[in-house]
Amino acid sequence: MLFVQLFVNGIQTGALYALIAAGFSLIFGTTRVFHVAHGATFTLAGFVFYELYTALAWAWPLAALGAGVAAAVFGMLVDRYVYSVIQRHEAAFFTVFVASFGLAIVVQNLITIGFGRGLVTVPTPLSKSLELLPGLYVAPMAAVAVLCAAVAFGLLHWLLTHTNLGLALRALGENPDLVRVYGLTPRRLSQYVFLIGSLLAVPAAILTAATSGLNPSMGHHIMLISIAATIVGGVGSLRGAAVAGLLLGMAENLSLAWIDPQWSEAVTFVVLFLFILFRPGGVFGRAVAS
């Protein structure tokens, strides 16, 4: 029964990781920007939701909307005023990475000044688990997480395959110059990507606030997961990010059945490292020439 419990936990964690990675994967896959400030978007969304829902007692859909606005605006501003400036004179991957990282530090500390330094949680009865079978505890939150992930990925898939915007975004990921030939501006598309990608952080942030709580310095951890899931799943593949998120969440939980908990975080990165060594394209990605 322990195994079944860990399996179910793995699904809940995996769904959360898939949601977290989705935004980063979309942004990185289409614009090739290593947007580590995505962790800051996540933290911002979480704290805004907490403030609106718990402190100011708004209804949760309104609070979620508020968080969404905050996240989207942040992502788009960062793209417009920081990344575009850098990309104008050179496309060095690491310059953007360092700038993004600097931003993450600034936002993390601004949140600390604004919201305090301790753990905050969003209390909800949905996070309390029920004993479905003797020894098997599942919280309604698990179902919510899986549902959210399914809806988010479903919407994203529809967007990318059935709309013109989606087509343009996929083209951007493959060949930015070709996009210009068709009269579209990569700049404008980039703003859309950051809008959607940052919005994707919101459900994950809210769910995390309800299950494990938020603190201003959680951005790093979020980014580690996003990067690992994006690469293991294959850069440019959203399906990959979803599968990889699930895989990593499962691995982290199932490994508890055999190894000491200290090593469970390392498990995620051993998986990442092995994939990069032997299958850098990830599960669904394009082949990567070395």
């Binding site: 860990l6 936990n9 809940q12 996070s127 505890y137 919280a139 709580g213």
Partner: protein, 373 residues
């Protein structure tokens, strides 16, 4: 580079000329002011600041006392830089420290420069071994466990304890003490589960804790993580009694709905002690911050108070207030009136203080029992 150095020297010159009287004293505070442990820095400094205020208001010293802070970020290297600044630039004889890693890194510096370092937050056993100049105003965790176990087993009848701990010297000490004490009291360590210091997901741990069917769960963690452990244990079907040590006394854990009913040990504080020191501290803190002070606030208040008492004695005897003299004076002083209790320092700089058991309720923690001696 040269310009920068000249600039720094100029700044130092400027600060020196702004010091008014030679009798004014300065102490240092090396606390985490930013980063993931900044919550502690905020709490610790509020206690220290209040003590400085009180010392100045009651004119305990001949001049004005002030405290200068450096940000350790709870990291050893930053702590070393901050300590060096306090010792060599601000030239303080007395520094407040926090976090075991930082304390261990600065201990050699304090010992070499004969600067007193006082910890009021960490409770790891290694804090007793950092030399003569390192003092603790908080009883270390082995005392705390020794107080909690008999209470759990004998008063509450909770014999099988499961332990969730961070695998550092503090956690390892808790494992050892729990095993010994439970054996003595007739209980049993049903299972011990270590977690990485950076872990945030504990549903798997919760499953394993459930599996061993304990009567109570002891948690040895700190900061945000301990709150996450409590919440996720409760969310995942662990409904047994939760017990822990003084680290639970931070606002975010005390306010956590899932932590209601949890018990934790701490230094005994008799709130009803009607002496001036206790009353004034309580009242002023409530006035300034709108809530009751917690144990950490007390410990750092007491640390600064200790300085005040020792420095006043030195001034009366006409001796300069240096680290060396402070140490000698402390050794010569039998007891200290801390807020809510009277304590004495052991030779190794730790205090022997009575321990109490607290329970978290709707409005924070309340003491429910005294530890048996």
């Amino acid at each position: 580079m040269k310009k920068l150095l000249a600039g720094l020297a100029l700044c130092q010159g400027l600060t020196l000329t702004s010091l008014a009287t030679a009798a004014d004293l300065t102490i240092g505070g090396l606390l985490p002011m930013s980063g993931s442990n900044a919550e502690y820095g905020q709490i610790f400094s509020s206690g220290a600041n209040l003590a400085v205020e009180h010392i100045n208001a009651s004119k305990m010293l001949s001049g004005k006392l002030s405290i200068v802070y450096e940000d350790s970020q709870a990291l050893p290297m930053q702590g070393v830089i901050g300590m060096n600044k306090l010792v060599n630039v601000a030239k303080v004889p007395f520094v407040l420290s926090a976090f075991t890693g930082v304390s261990k890194a600065i201990a050699p510096i304090g010992t070499r420069s004969k600067t007193v370092m006082v910890n009021g937050g960490g409770v790891g056993p290694d804090l007793a071994e950092l030399g003569e100049y390192f003092w603790n105003t908080i009883p270390l965790v082995d005392f705390e466990v020794r107080a909690m176990v008999p209470y759990l087993v004998k008063q509450r009848g909770l014999k099988r304890i499961a332990l969730v701990y961070v695998d550092d010297p503090l956690g390892q000490s808790v494992v050892k003490e729990l095993k010994t004490e439970l054996g003595k009291a007739g209980g049993e360590l049903a299972g011990s589960f270590s977690v990485p210091a950076t872990a945030q997901q504990f549903s798997g741990i919760a499953a394993r804790v459930r599996d061993v069917k304990p009567d109570a769960v002891y948690i040895a963690s700190y900061g945000s993580q301990q709150g996450q452990i409590v919440k996720q244990l409760r969310d995942n079907g662990v409904s047994q009694q939760i017990a822990s040590y003084s680290a639970f006394a931070i606002p975010s854990t005390l306010a956590l709905p899932e932590a209601r009913g949890a018990m934790f040990t701490s230094q005994k504080v008799d709130w009803n002690k009607s002496d001036d020191i206790t009353r004034r501290m309580l009242d002023d803190y409530k006035k300034q911050y709108g809530k009751e002070p917690n144990m950490y606030v007390l410990n750092y208040y007491n640390a600064v108070r200790t300085f005040g008492v020792l420095a006043a004695a030195l001034e009366k005897a006409g001796k300069p207030v240096t680290g060396e003299n402070l140490l000698a004076q402390r050794k010569a002083t039998k007891t200290f009136d801390f807020v809510g209790a009277t304590v004495s320092f052991a030779d190794n700089g730790t205090i022997q203080a009575p321990i109490q058991i607290n329970e978290i309720g709707d409005k924070g923690a309340k003491p429910i029992a005294d530890a048996a001696h």
